[in-house]
């Protein structure tokens, strides 16, 4: 075990994948000599060469489409979107080409598209988005969203090994703020949810940065025992773990940093409404970012994103139900 930041854990996974699998290629804008906008790939071009850590032109469609092409002839490309927001520019290749490829042709596109996502850093409306729901809605794509350094490394190695296209949401607010003990060498984190805090009066279901907000909120609620379930992967969605948590706790708060309508939490809530209804002792409560763009000014951004207080208040209100 070694203590790494969330960002270092991602870099560690990429370095291991490059070292252990000659099929792995990194593609991205400014990822080479510059090491990427967030320095995730710092030093990798020097270590692995410009043929494996490749600076691309500003061409998200060609990058993702090119990755699909390389993948169907045996490579394992990992693309970096400079910010998650820019994946909109490569949306068509991801949704229409990569996602449907296996179903329609029997070929598969084992590519990973890394999305530095999320708010909290005054990125404004084009550098703060949480686009996970766009891809959950597109058949054939997997969507991973780790919350800890250990999971960031293990899920990235799992994503690279997966034969399907994986959208990998790495939360940029966590890059240097979250640290943790990370096993050395290669390991793969399963595509299943993880209980990060035990409790049986209420469960908060979250993913990515909101897991940390949920844990902090739970710690402030001394009068009750609050569980936190970290989904870790949104596709596949660990339905069993969600329904088990609802059965154990009977009260549930679902948290998204994504915009409210049709966010991953909406799918979780719908699952519970249909299959966990009999276990509920109160309404399924959702906390999410309102359906507005993410603002720039810190005071406005704090008001928009679901923080510790909103989650705590939602939990208290539901506990009193």
């Amino acid at each position: 075990m070694t203590e790494l930041t969330y960002l270092e854990a991602i870099s560690d996974a990429l370095r291991i994948a490059l070292r252990e699998d000659e099929r792995v290629l990194l593609l991205g804008e400014d990822i080479g000599a510059f090491g990427g906008a967030f320095k995730v790939t710092a030093g990798m071009q020097e270590e692995f060469g410009a043929d494996r850590v490749i600076d691309t032109p500003i061409s998200e469609e060609a990058m993702i489409g090119g990755a699909v092409g390389a993948a169907i002839v045996g490579m394992r490309p990992v693309c970096e979107m400079q910010f998650a927001d820019f994946v909109a520019c490569g949306f068509d290749q991801l949704v229409n080409v990569a996602g449907k490829l296996h179903w329609r042709s029997g070929l598969a596109a084992p590519i990973v598209v890394r999305l530095p996502s999320g708010g909290g850093v005054s990125g404004g409306p084009y550098h703060s988005q949480n686009p996970e729901a766009w891809f959950m809605h597109a058949p054939g794509l997997k969507v991973f969203a780790p919350s800890s350094a250990q999971d960031a490394k293990g899920l990235l190695l799992e994503a690279i090994a997966d034969p399907n296209p994986v959208v990998f949401l790495e939360h940029k607010y966590l890059y240097r703020r979250v640290r943790g003990e990370v096993p050395e060498g290669a390991y793969r984190t399963p595509q299943r949810a993880n209980t990060v805090r035990d409790g049986d009066d209420l469960v908060v279901i979250a993913y990515g940065a909101m897991v940390h907000a949920a844990v902090a909120a739970a710690q402030q609620i001394e009068e009750a025992s609050v569980r936190v379930l970290d989904l870790r992967t949104l596709v596949p969605l660990d339905e069993r773990a969600i329904l088990d948590a609802v059965r154990d706790c009977a009260k549930v708060v679902v948290v998204d940093e994504a915009n409210y309508t049709c966010a991953p939490g909406a799918q979780v809530a719908s699952l519970i409404a249909q299959y966990g209804y009999g276990d509920l002792d109160g309404p399924v409560v959702r906390v999410a970012t309102p359906d507005a763009p993410i603002p720039f000014a810190p005071v406005l951004e704090r008001a928009a994103l679901p923080g510790i207080e909103r989650i705590r208040d939602a939990c208290r209100e539901l506990l009193a139900y």
């Binding site: 290629l25 043929d51 060609a62 489409g65 169907i72 296996h102 598969a108």
Partner: protein, 320 residues
């Protein structure tokens, strides 16, 4: 070319009989471009055909019965009923099927070629598209990336005059060949209705690609002799334009050329007719796809399959 046309004529007739769901799309008049280009490929060179390129599938070895079964939406068709009309690709024969968004497969072809270059393999890719597709951002991104990385890719622009109903005069001001030059890509114009000329320029483009000299854009001038699909009567095309191109029919031209060489064209035609008759019977007898299992194959489990080797009946005339 004969098989391409005969299958599409049969497909259109099955469509008119109400047996082909959706609409029907063909490449009448453009057979020489896709056939000539695909003939220049080696067995390990993947092709990304587009809507008018049935011939490329056939050259790679896709059986006519699988094509007709595909049109009919049958389990034994190339797309197993999951996709129809011209959206097909037998990946195990080196054909990567198109999507409706144009020209998405061009970026995929660049990616394949890029991988071949990085691995030092003597292979190239062929991507076909129409003049309308050159207006899309993906075309420019793929051209720029291909020129930048000097990947072994061959782009064949089927300049057939119309994108659905929009003539190329309303599509762009600067000719795609001139645009190729600004991306550092060699451009070549060819008579798209002369199968041997198309073969020759593609063969040369392949030779250059394998020699590390980068991609080529071949502009094959041809004409779409039908509407965009069977639902489109192409009334927007001036009749004299159809007349002009009808006199340059690619099959008729090759027929004359072969007759001059003493080839018994009639017996080849009879053979093709018999083959398509048999394929049609076989396709009509294919089972409907089972409606259960909608989620089957959405995700890949286990080791993914990669693009396979296709037939390359004429590759001995190619460079390597």
């Amino acid at each position: 070319m004969l098989t391409h046309r005969a299958i599409e004529e049969r497909g259109l007739s099955l469509y008119k009989q109400g047996k082909v769901p959706g609409s029907f799309y063909d490449g009448r008049g453009q057979e020489a471009t896709c056939v000539g280009a695909a003939f220049a490929l080696g067995p390990d060179d993947p092709v990304c055909p587009l809507i008018r390129d049935l011939g490329a599938h056939l050259v790679k070895g896709t059986p006519p019965s699988a094509v007709l079964g595909h049109y009919l939406g049958r389990a034994g068709g190339v797309g197993r009923g999951r996709d129809g009309n011209v959206h097909m690709g037998d990946a195990q024969r080196g054909v990567v099927g198109m999507v409706s968004m144009l020209p998405d497969m061009m970026a995929v072809a660049v990616g394949m070629a890029w991988a071949f270059k990085l691995r030092g393999e003597s292979r190239c890719t062929l991507s076909l598209f129409g003049d309308g597709a050159t207006s899309v951002g993906d075309w420019h991104e793929a051209m720029n990336l291909a020129g930048l990385q000097r990947v072994p890719a061959i782009f064949v622009l089927e300049h057939n005059g119309y994108a659905y109903s929009t003539p190329s005069s309303r599509q762009f001001v600067v000719d795609p060949l001139q645009r190729a030059a600004v991306y550092g890509i060699r451009g070549v114009a060819v008579d798209g209705n002369d199968v041997e000329a198309v073969f020759e320029v593609t063969r040369e483009a392949r030779e250059r690609a394998l020699a590390g000299e980068g991609p080529t854009l071949i502009a094959a001038y041809t004409m779409r002799m039908h509407g965009h699909g069977a639902h489109d009567d192409a009334s927007y095309v001036p009749p004299e334009l159809f007349e002009h191109w009808a006199a340059r029919d690619p099959i008729e031209r090759q027929r004359e050329r072969l007759r001059g060489l003493g080839v018994d064209v009639e017996s080849i035609e009879a053979q093709v007719r018999a083959e398509v008759d048999a394929a049609s019977r076989e396709a009509l007898a294919m089972a409907e796809p089972p409606p259960a299992g909608e989620l089957e194959d959405v995700f890949c489990e286990g080791e993914p399959r990669t693009v396979g080797r296709g037939a390359a009946p004429w590759s001995r005339f190619s460079a390597t």
